[in-house]
Every structure is written in C-alpha cells, then in structure tokens.
C-alpha cells in the first residue's frame, strides 16, 4: 500500500486564513449587537461585505494554490489536549477545501445581496443578517478544519444556524416546530458522527485527517473497523444531507425565509454530508460494503423524493423534494466512486438550485407571500427576468445540454452504469421524473392564466435589482458552469484534473473499483438516453399542463391510491410520529408518574418509614425538630472521634 506523506505546515502569518471565517463572524457580532439600531439596508450591506471579503481572500488563496498545488495545514491554536488525544484548531488547505470555500462564499455572497431586497420589509433585518453571517462562519469552519472534530464544530454550528433561521419568524408554532424538528433529527445523525469520531480516534490514535488517512492506507480493503467507521460517519451525513430515512426535516425547513432555503437548504449546508464523505474518501474506498449502502441509499432517496415532488403544490416544497432527490444523486455518485462527479454535481446543483429558490422567492415576493402554485399562473409577463432565469434553472436540472446539470448528471449516470445497471436505471428514471415535475412547476407558475386574487394581480411586479442581479449571475453559472468539467468527447475535465490528487490514495488502494474509461460509443449512448429522459419529461409536462391545461386538484378532492400516497408523502411523518415521538412522550409521562413517584420514591419512602417507626430518635424528626437531630448528629461525631481517641 502506498503511504501518504504528511502535509506541510504553513509557516507564514495565519492572518489571512483567520480572516476567512472571522469576517462573517464580525458581521454576526455587529449586526447582532446593533440589531435594531441599524437600518435594514446597512445591516444587509455589512452582512454582504463581510462575505465578499471572505470570497476575495478565498479567491486569492485559490489562485495562489493553482500556481503551487501542494496541500498544507495552517495551525491556529491548541484546542483540546488530554493524554494522547490532541485536537488542534487548524485548517487544511487543499483542492477540496478551496473549492468549497469558493462555493460557500461566492454563492453565499449572492444570496446575501439578494436578501437585502427580499427582507427589506422585515422588522428584524439585523437579526436575519447576523444569523446568516453566523451560518457562513460555521460553514467555513466546517470546510476549513483539518480534523474531524473541527468538522464537527462547523457541522453542529450550521445546524444551530439552520434552527435559528428556519424559526426566524418565531411567532408561528409550525415554523418553530419545523426548526426544532430539523435540529433534533440532525442530532440523531450527529450521534452517529460522534461515535464515528470516537472509533476513528481509538483506531488510529488521532483525529487529524492527514494522519488518519496515512494510517488507514496501511489497512486491507474491507477491514471491519473501517466499515464501521464509515457507516457511522454516513449516519451523520444522512441527517445533514437529508437522506432516507432522516430526510423529513428538510421539506419542513422551508418554513424559513426563502434566501435561507437557497443558501442553507439547497446550496451549501445540505452538501456537508457529501463533503464529509469526499474528505474521507480513503476510508470509504477501503469499505466497499459501505459504498454499496451509500449508493443504494442515494439512489433510493433520489427516486423516492422525486415521486413526492410530482404531486406537491407548494412552490418551495417541490424545490425541497427536488433538493433531497438531487442530494441522492450525489450520494449515488459517491457510492459508485464517482468522487469528483459528486463534487461537480454539488457545484452545478448549487448554481441551479440556489437560482430556482431565489426565483421562487421572487415569485413569492411578487405574489404577496402566496406559495401555492394552484393560485399562480401566467407570471412570465409580469416577471420576465425571474421567468427566464427560472427557465434556465429548470433546463439545467433536467439535464439538457449544454446546461450545467447535463454534464454533472451525465457523469454520475455513466459511473453508475459501469458499476451497477440497476442503480443506473433508477438514476435514469429519476432524471425523467425530475424533468417532469420541474417543468410542471414552471408551467403552472409562469404559463396559462393567472389564478390568484385580483389584489395579488394588481400587486404583481418584477423584483428590484438587488434580487434580479443575483438571479442573472446564477443563471449564467447554471447555464455554462458545466464546462468546467465537460466529458472528454465534448471538452476537457478541468475540475476532475484539479481534484485528482485528492483521490490518489483511493485509486492506489482499490484501482479496479475506480473503473476505467468508457468507450465512446457507450458514452454517446448514455448521453442520448439521459437527454431523451429529460426531454420526455419536459414534453409530458408540456402536454399535460400547457396543451391540456390540467390543473392540480384542490386539497379535499378525491385522489387515486398512488396519487394519494405520494401527495401525503408516503405518510412517513405520521409513521415516525407513531413509532418514535408518541412512545417517547408516553415513556416520559409513565416514567415520571409511575416509575419515579410510585416505584423509586415509594421504595425509598417505605424504607424511611420502616426505620422511623422503630426509632424514638427518628420519631422526633417527624415532629419537625430538625435542630434536635442536628445536635444529636454532631454529638455522635464527637462521640465517635472521642472513642477513637480513648482506645488509643
């Protein structure tokens, strides 16, 4: 087995590196402390400027790295040291962290700018931007950390921000419940992650990435302990990245303001699970069984969420299920060892899904907070920019060339095809469903006649420049972003070449599993099929919702069995409620009312009574003369001590 060389330690001043997360943190403090004293626009400008600062620094580091692509760590301070356990607070700068830095700060900046317009009317803009900045801070810590515990800091930090922002409008019980649900389900995943970290430490005697992977590369493929570690870590990823069976918090998380959905619940935080697996690719490559689990969970989540997306009528819910589904694709890619394809899809998805969420926000903004697509229609005339950019997003996610989603999805499907034809089939079916429900959403929202109230119709307007500008930039990225990693028959895989060193050791550990090049004929066939699936979905949606003018039925209408099942999201929430929530509540009540009061305390009181009944001394106690007892007790001590003294 190849031995991985330890990473170089950065020797210069760490100021620039500290500033990357610190700038948004300062923004958080300023906006948090001066919450109601700053005007909304000023708060927004501060929030955006700090993220822009981080983006520019990240860009500088990235360009510097291109000139000398050698990964290194930056040591900041010693955090926890106990015995042989050493957890320094330090960064790892390499291909993966740099790409994630650019994504988080770049897309993050655009969404901050958008929020200036979107949150303009809200009474707590300062609070909003302070939370948003805190999120960016946590996410940057997550991707910068050089060990699993720092990753965990960011991991839980983004979870907190997600909680705070989902429940941002905290007067609404449902929103608060959604926030709490997100936090708790994520905590379930976090427990797995935490146990994974423990197992890593007790196996490798370190939690630093470099050292862990170096030691791991000595192990055999399929070693049990690595399988256990990777499965535990994956439990964490299932929570954070909303995979079966821990996905249910994400659709509810749409209670948060729409920019939050775009930034946290589409573009960045939910991809943390993918980041974690990519970071640990050496470990996952060593555990083919885990990879199989990852691939199947990913594929099934992709399909499952897509079917739910078919029948939803809330514009944000459709996008939410679509996000769950696309995250499933990314895990499918990881599971079939298409590591760089997975990150590629993280990037393109960030572009087009952030774009569509922001577009949905623009629609909701124009419709005076209406989110039900049954009340929309024909909006393309009133909101031309929103419409055009949203259309680009839809084409991109549907995998139509040469838009970005085509390239990344095609890569994933190609890897799946090599690995397992059934997984590929599921992916292809999902691609068809995706194109269908996205265009269903597009047609119902922007085509046909307007179905809202007169008042809403009167108020329809295109959003301000602070909102449309980010839309346009994201639309451009969603359109051409795929060329950063075009397949060989169409261009060049810049991204894959850049990322390749990350997977050197995985490739050496298990070269067969990585698979070779597919021949051009197969590649063309695969491209043809996936494009056909997308086109078919779009055509079907067009026929149903434009040509035939089908409208989704109202809430109380009769539905067929399958439609009903899908419309009610397979009753998973109800199932979890019956299986976990209700029993916990029952247990809580029974433990308190019965076990605690009757059994435990009853036993103690019984013993107490028995003793009391037999003793004059204690009978005095029952009259409440505590002083007497104290006196006796002190006397007792004196007597005991005196006895000791005398006997000597």
């Amino acid at each position: 087995m190849a031995e991985q060389a330890p990473l170089a330690v950065f020797a210069g001043s760490p100021l620039l590196y500290i500033l990357i997360p610190l700038l948004p943190f300062l923004g958080f403090l300023i906006n948090g402390l001066l919450n109601r004293r700053l005007s909304g626009t000023v708060a927004g400008l501060i929030g955006s400027a700090t993220v822009l600062g981080s983006f520019l620094i990240s860009l500088t580091l990235f360009l510097r790295f291109l000139g000398n692509p050698v990964p290194y760590t930056v040591h900041l301070f010693e955090w926890i040291n106990v015995g042989s356990l050493r957890i320094p607070f330090s960064y790892q700068i390499d291909q993966l962290s740099l790409i994630m830095l650019l994504l988080v700060t770049g897309v993050g900046f655009l969404i901050h700018v958008y929020s200036i317009g979107y949150m303009h009317h809200d009474a707590n803009v300062g609070k909003f931007f302070s939370f948003l900045n805190l999120f960016v801070f946590s996410m940057l810590v997550l991707v910068l950390g050089s060990n699993y515990v720092i990753l965990f800091i960011g991991w839980e930090g983004v979870g907190l921000c997600s909680y705070l922002l989902i429940g941002f409008w905290n007067k609404n019980h449902n929103y608060n419940n959604a926030a709490k649900k997100a936090f708790i389900i994520n905590r379930i995943g976090d427990l797995g992650f935490l146990l994974g970290i423990f197992l890593i430490y007790f196996t490798f005697d370190t939690v630093q990435y470099g050292e862990v992977f170096q030691k791991a590369s000595q192990l055999q493929v399929g070693a049990g302990v690595v399988t256990a570690i990777t499965l535990l870590l994956f439990v964490g990823a299932m929570g954070k990245s909303a995979q079966l069976p821990l996905y249910t918090w994400l659709p509810d998380a749409m209670a948060g303001p729409t920019p939050v959905s775009a930034l946290i619940h589409a573009a960045t935080m939910v991809t943390a699970g993918i980041y974690m697996v990519l970071r640990s690719n050496v470990l996952y490559t060593l555990a083919p069984d885990t990879l199989n689990v990852v691939a199947w969970i990913g594929a099934l989540t992709a399909l499952f969420a897509a079917t739910i997306g078919l029948a939803q009528n809330d514009i944000k819910k459709v996008l939410a299920y679509s996000t769950v589904s696309q995250l499933g694709y990314m895990f499918l890619a990881l599971g079939v060892m298409g590591y760089s394809s997975s990150l590629f899809h993280v990037l393109t998805h960030a572009f087009f899904k952030a774009l569509m969420f922001l577009g949905a926000g623009s629609v909701i903004h124009a419709m005076s907070n209406e989110q039900d697509i049954r009340r929309m229609g024909g909006l393309r005339k009133a909101l031309p920019i929103t419409f055009l950019t949203f259309l680009i997003g839809c084409i991109a996610i549907s995998g139509i060339p040469p838009f970005s989603g085509f390239f990344s999805k095609d890569e994933i499907l190609a890897h799946a095809y090599e690995h397992n034809k059934v997984l590929w089939g599921i992916g292809l079916l999902t691609a068809f469903l995706t194109a269908f429900y996205m265009f269903r959403l597009l047609f119902l929202t922007f085509f046909g006649e307007f179905r809202g109230t007169e008042e809403q119709k009167h108020h329809l307007h295109e959003s301000p420049a602070s909102m449309t500008l980010p839309l346009i930039i994201l639309a451009v990225l969603a359109a051409i972003g795929g060329f950063m990693n075009a397949p060989l028959v169409l261009g060049r895989g810049y991204l894959a070449d850049f990322l390749a060193p990350l997977f050197t050791y995985s490739r050496q550990i298990n070269p067969e599993a990585f698979g070779g090049e597919i021949d051009h004929a197969t590649e063309y066939m695969l491209i043809g099929l996936s494009v056909a699936a997308g086109v078919l979905g779009i055509v079907l949606a067009y026929v149903l919702y434009v040509a035939k003018r089908t409208r989704p039925v109202e809430e109380e209408a009769q539905r067929g069995a399958f439609e009903k099942l899908v419309y009610h999201k397979y009753y998973v929430d109800e199932l979890y409620d019956a299986l976990f929530v209700k029993p916990s509540m029952f247990l809580s009540r029974t433990l308190h009312d019965f076990v605690e009061k009757r059994v435990v305390d009853g036993a103690v009181t019984g013993v107490g009574r028995g003793v009391m009944g037999s003793s004059q001394l204690l009978r005095n106690l029952q009259t409440g003369k505590v002083e007497t007892y104290l006196l006796l007790m002190v006397l007792g001590i004196v007597v005991v001590l005196a006895l000791n003294f005398i006997r000597l």
């Binding site: 040291n81 106990v82 015995g83 839980e156 708790i184 427990l191 409440g624 505590v626 000597l648």
Partner: protein
C-alpha cells in the same frame, strides 16, 4: 496559609453579618465573596501545575491519634475552589432582587456554606473531609427549610434523611479505613496519603467501596437515590438551589475521585460496572422525564440528573479522557445550571409563574434575556465551542472507551437534551404573543452582571478548555496511576 485564609474568610464575614441589618447585609456578603474570589484567583496564578498538593497546612488536631488538620490544593481541588468562589458572588448577586426575611442570617448561612464546600475540596485528611462535608450540609438544610416554598419542611426532611444516612455510611467507612492504617503495627492515620497506601484485600475493598460511595452517590445523585433531588431543587429558594446544583453535587463527584477511586481501586474494579450502568440509566431516565415537565425548575432538575449521570459515568470509565471530561464538565455544569436556574427565576419574577404551558411569546420585548437564555441553553445541549461540548465530548469518549455500546446509549443524551431544552425554550420564549409579551421587561443591569460572567465562561471554557484542563492534568494522571497500580 492561603488555603486556611480561604476557609476562614467567609466564616469571619458571616460572623460580621450578625451586626449588620437589612440591605447592608447582602452588600457585605457580596463584597466578602468578591474578596474570596480574588484570593482564589491569586492562588491559581501562583499555583504550579503538578500532582503535588500546594499551599499545604498540616496542624495537629488529634495528633496522637494521627488525625491532623491537613489541607492543601492540587489542580483538581483548585478548579473546584475556583468554581465555588466564582459562583458564590453570582449567586449572591442573583438574590439581590429578592427580599428574604432576616437577610443577615440568610447571607451568613450562604457564607458558612462556602467555607464548608471549600473545606471539602481542600481536605487532605479523612476526618477533616468529613467535618467539612457536614459543615456544608447544615446551612443548606436551613436555607431550604426556612426560606423555601410551601412544601419546604417535608421536602427538606427527605433531603436531610437521605444525606445524613449517606454520610453515616461514609463515616463508618472512614473509621474502618482509619483502623486499618494501624493494622501492621504502624501508627494510625486518617491522612489521604495513608489511605492511598492501605492496599486492603479485594473483599474488604468491595464493601468499603459501598460504604464510602453511598454518601457520594446520594449527593450527586446516582439513580435510583435521586428522589430527594427534584423536590428539593424545586422547593428550595433559588440561591439554595443554585448552591445545591452548581457546587454541592460536585462534592459527590469530587469525593468519588479523591476518596473512592484511589483508596479502594479493587472495590471499584469489582463494582464500577454497576455504578456505570446506573449512571447511564440516570442519563436517559432524567432526560426522558425532563421532556414533559411543566415546571421550569423541575425540568432543569431532571436535566441536571441526566448530566450528573454522564459525569459519574465518566468517573467510573477510569480513563484519562473520562476523568478530565468530568473535571471540565463539573465547571461547565456548575456555570450552566446556575445560569439556567437564574433564567427561570427571572422569568418567574417577571410573570409570576414558571409553569411552561402558561408562558410563551416572551422573546419580542426581551432580546437580552432571549440571547442569554439561548447561550446558556446551547452550553447545556453541548453545542461545539461552548463549555458543555468539551465536557460531553470527553465524557462520551471515556464511556465509549469503557464500552462502545454503553457509549452509544449514553450518547442519546445529545438527542434528548436537545428535545427537552428546545421544547422549553420554544414554549417559554417563542410562539404567538401572550399576555406577557408587551409588559415583560428585559434584563436589568444587576441581572446582566450575573449573566455576562456566565456567558463569558460558556465560551471561554468552550474555546480554551486548555486553561483549565492543563491545571488538573497532573492531578488526574496521579489518580490514574493510583487506580492502576
């Protein structure tokens, strides 16, 4: 000498309080506690981290019997001295808004108790330890029994009986150990070192373990000896609850680390597994019950039960991470639980109730209260970069090292902790406006003066736990050597 001064000063101030009336009493008490804090801080600056006790004092007491007034401070003691001297001024300050009857007696008892607590943490002789153990208990009986809520007499009695019975077992254990030091014709001694050198037979250690540990198990408390705790915490006046939960329960944990593990290691290796399992049951049991509590104070009491279970499990994991985790978590829990009880007190004083279903929508007019509440809550749910995380991370790691499955079960605390605390926060602070939303006032300056130091420590311990871990490390390593010899 410095150690003795730490013990004498609060008593002297308490005696002075006799001559002062009304609000001057609390000012004097508060001033005295600040001087005490300054002494402790000075001590920690001069302290050199090593396993050896420093600032020792060894005066003959019953010298011919080998019982000496032997006190001193090692890293472990020092951290608990710091915790005590840090929390007492805050607890006094937190009580400023209440008008307690007979304030000079009330505050004198608090200061007396401080001496008792500090004595427990610095004692290096078994009988000195026992003496201060009882000295610390007496004031709290009166504080709870005289100034408590409606059911105070009944509840205090229960607490009293529990602790006295526990203490008597401990005394019996100490007396036996003391006699055994003279077993081979040597002079008897109740000195800690003499106990460490005892090396009793495994059979003897087994029952001595239970005798001595009984007192500590009640004090912490370990499931199922905890039923005095929720009632006492709820009925006692808030300053007494803070003393009990913030500092006093650490007497049990500290006592176990100092007087059980190294003295009867073979007893621990025979019975540690049972305590471990009971502790883990306590973690889950406390957390589950906390979920549905309606009274904020009671909820915090059960949450504390759950957290103490984890600390006890860390102690009995007998690992470096577990013991250091316990040490740092004693500080973190002390700070957080006092903060939590203070928040509950603030809300009760403002609204007249601390029943969760009657509250709601408080956040709108109380940004400072909301932020303070949330920060302390995050510390309690062990969010990374807060104090609770460092403790829970190390503790769970210790339990995991002891047994991976037990570690996984204990780990459920991070899920349940989030369930009951977020539930409380949501129902008290968030939601639609209630009748309190408009009228409730935000924090006053004196309340901020209590909460800001707490918040600073939440982040300080979370970010730079090394400040504290580094002080206790030699002492903990020595413990491990003694346990494993």
């Amino acid at each position: 000498m410095l150690t003795a001064l730490l013990l004498i000063w609060p008593v002297a101030a308490a005696l002075l309080l006799h001559f002062v009336r009304g609000s001057a009493a609390r000012a004097l008490a508060f001033g005295a506690s600040l001087v005490e804090l300054a002494l402790a801080v000075y001590m920690s600056v001069v302290f050199v981290p090593s396993a050896q006790p420093q600032f020792e004092l060894n005066l003959p007491w019953l010298a011919s019997a080998g019982i000496n007034f032997h006190i001193g401070v090692d890293g472990l003691s020092l951290l608990l001295v710091l915790l005590t001297t840090f929390l007492v001024p805050l607890i006094l300050l937190a009580s400023f808004r209440h008008d307690y009857e007979n304030p000079s007696a009330f505050y004198a008892l608090v200061l007396f108790m401080q001496t008792g607590l500090l004595g427990v943490f610095v004692a290096l002789d078994a009988f000195v330890f026992y003496f201060f153990w009882e000295v610390a208990l007496i004031p709290i009986y009166f504080l709870a029994g005289v100034w408590g809520g409606e059911r105070r007499v009944q509840v205090t009695l229960k607490f009293f009986i529990y602790t006295v019975v526990g203490s008597l077992f401990m005394l019996a254990g100490f007396v036996y150990l003391y006699y055994m030091t003279g077993a081979n014709g040597a002079a008897r001694s109740s000195d800690l070192e003499a106990f460490y050198n005892l090396r009793l037979s495994a059979a003897d250690q087994a029952w001595v373990f239970w005798l001595v540990f009984a007192a500590f198990a009640v004090k912490m408390p370990i499931f199922p000896l905890h039923t005095w705790q929720p009632d006492t915490y709820t009925e006692a006046p808030t300053p007494a609850t803070m003393l009990l939960s913030g500092i006093m329960l650490k007497m049990g944990i500290y006592g176990t680390m100092r007087w059980v593990l190294p003295v009867v290691p073979l007893g621990v290796s025979q019975w540690g597994w049972l305590v471990m399992i009971l502790s883990v049951i306590g973690i889950i049991y406390g957390a589950l019950i906390a979920i549905r509590q309606r009274d904020m104070k009671r909820l915090i009491a059960f949450s504390s039960l759950s957290h103490v279970g984890l600390m006890a499990a860390g102690v009995f994991s007998l690992t470096a991470v577990g013991l250091q985790g316990t040490t740092i978590q004693m500080l973190a829990h002390g700070v957080n639980v006092v903060g939590m009880f203070f928040i509950a007190d603030i809300i009760q004083r403002r609204t007249g109730t601390r029943m969760i279903p009657e509250l709601g929508g408080l956040t709108r007019s109380t940004p400072l209260l909301s932020v303070s509440f949330l920060v302390i809550l995050l510390g309690t749910v062990a969010l990374p970069l807060t104090n609770g995380f460092v403790g829970e991370f190390l503790l769970l790691m210790g339990v995991y090292q002891y047994n991976a499955w037990l570690g996984a079960v204990a780990g459920l605390t991070i899920i349940f902790g989030a369930v009951y605390l977020l539930r409380m926060f949501q129902r008290v602070m968030l939601g639609p406006d209630s009748s309190f939303s408009d009228v409730i006032k935000d924090l006053t300056a004196s309340e901020l003066a209590v909460l800001i130091p707490i918040i600073v420590l939440v982040f300080w311990i979370g970010l730079f736990p090394g400040t504290f871990l580094h002080l206790s490390e030699p002492a903990v390593n020595k413990l491990l050597v003694l346990i494993n010899r």
